[in-house]
């Protein structure tokens, strides 16, 4: 699979946030976005996910047979983990993950595996509203393990995680890449050994 962007540009409100962005990420590769606050990392990730329209340019996701994916097929081959964690205070962690599994169209039995992968067992019955910052982030990252999908879009995934969980995230991502996955991530800290980075301009 390959993700190819050519001459991307996006506006937020009245401002052109970035312009003429080009990249090409193939199976097994990761691209880490750096850049100052407000330079458009989040915006770019949302454009890739199709959650935001682009002003100019072209973005294609090509499957292993060389065919360009439709928008629907693209939506179903990516995981998006953003700043917002889609955790409702009224739902327990277990219920939240079951709901997310359903939204992804994944079998509910994957939930237990995801909980185990992210060490959430002690939290499974806790309401979302009681979680600490890092615990919330872990729940939201656990979506990645609910269903196998090739393209991961991660917005500042390290934030609020403790050192062991950072290591775990790193392992899980490396394994994903080794299995032919793609990762585009935004981060202010070194991530994935910064295999390949792109720095967005200063736009403030």
């Amino acid at each position: 699979m390959r993700l190819i962007a050519e001459g991307l540009a996006a506006v937020r409100g009245e401002r052109v946030v970035f312009q003429n962005i080009n990249f090409d990420v193939a199976s097994g590769q990761a691209l880490v976005l750096h850049g100052p606050n407000g330079s458009g990392k989040t915006t770019l990730l949302r454009v890739i996910a199709g959650l935001l329209g682009m002003l100019a340019g072209r973005m294609r996701v090509i499957d292993k047979d060389g065919a360009v994916l439709t928008d629907e097929a693209r939506d179903q081959s990516l995981h998006f983990v953003g700043h917002q964690d889609a955790i409702r205070p009224q739902l327990r962690v277990m219920e939240t993950l079951q709901f997310h599994a359903n939204l992804l169209g994944a079998p509910t039995k994957n939930v237990d595996a995801a909980i185990a992968t992210w060490g959430l067992e002690p939290l499974a019955e806790l309401s979302g509203g009681l979680l600490s910052a890092g615990q919330r982030r872990r729940v939201s990252l656990a979506r990645l393990s609910l269903q196998r999908r090739p393209l991961w879009l991660l917005d500042e995934p390290l934030v609020a995680l403790d050192t062991p969980t950072r290591a775990r995230l790193n392992d899980i991502c490396s394994k994903h890449l080794a299995q032919g996955g793609l990762i585009v991530a935004a981060s202010h800290e070194p991530f994935l050994g910064d295999r390949r980075t792109m720095t967005l301009g200063y736009q403030e």
Binding site: L51, G53, D75, F80, H83, D85, R88, P89, E95, L104
Partner: protein, 221 residues
């Protein structure tokens, strides 16, 4: 289908556990009906005449109440992004939202109304018609409201104001609903009013999800 059910169930669960939900709409509805004699005076004749209208006004307001919680929190906490990325078509997402909203408002209200009917001295033959009119009409109110709420999410500074803008669309429900019950009280045939009510509800249930889905796609900026 499973996703659809999961979505409805989640919203009901949150509604039940969070501020109000089903209890809120029901309590609000009951409250208007209980307060009515306090405000209008206890004269049975006045109450009986005003009854059908009051029940329908109360239903309108009670369904309005929960609309802000149908989509706004999803937009704020990122769930809406996941809904847009999900394989379930947005029209069905909207339908699930309508269903959950109706089950926690209109449906409960329809069950509650017959119990409250004596408070407003409603005639006994009118009571089943009241319940029927609410059961047939309130799904339409939920549909219109959800479409408005969807528009609300894409308007940074809009929110509930939109619901109020769309309320004029609810007036037909009020008129047909109240006149069905009044007809039953006057020993007339309420069928025609009920048919119009059902028609309005069906139209809303078809157009509502489509409009709501279009409004949700609008967020694409």
């Amino acid at each position: 289908m499973k996703t659809f059910r999961a979505l409805v169930w989640r919203d009901i669960l949150i509604g039940m556990r969070a501020s109000g939900g089903a209890a809120l709409a029901a309590a609000f509805f009951a409250l208007i009906i209980v307060l009515a004699p306090l405000g209008l005076g206890p004269d049975a004749g006045t109450l009986r005449a005003a009854g059908p209208g009051l029940f329908w006004i109360a239903a309108l307001l009670a369904t309005l109440l929960g609309l802000e919680r149908v989509l706004q929190p999803d937009a704020e906490d990122g769930t809406l992004d996941l809904l847009r990325l999900s394989p379930l078509p947005l029209e069905l997402v909207a339908l699930a939202k309508i269903a959950a909203h109706w089950l926690t408002s209109g449906f409960i209200i329809s069950l509650l109304a017959p119990l409250l009917a004596p408070l407003l001295s409603l005639d006994t033959p009118a009571i089943p018609i009241l319940a029927a009119s609410l059961l047939l009409g309130t799904p339409g109110l939920s549909a219109i409201g959800t479409a408005a709420a969807a528009l609300g999410t894409s308007v940074q500074r809009g929110g509930m104001v939109l619901a109020i803008l769309v309320l004029p669309l609810n007036i037909p429900f009020l008129i047909f609903g109240a006149s069905a019950v009044s007809a039953a009280q006057a020993n007339e045939d309420p069928t025609q009013a009920l048919i119009f009510l059902t028609a309005a509800s069906l139209i809303a249930l078809v157009v509502g999800p489509i409009a709501a889905a279009a409004a949700l796609r609008l967020n694409e900026d």
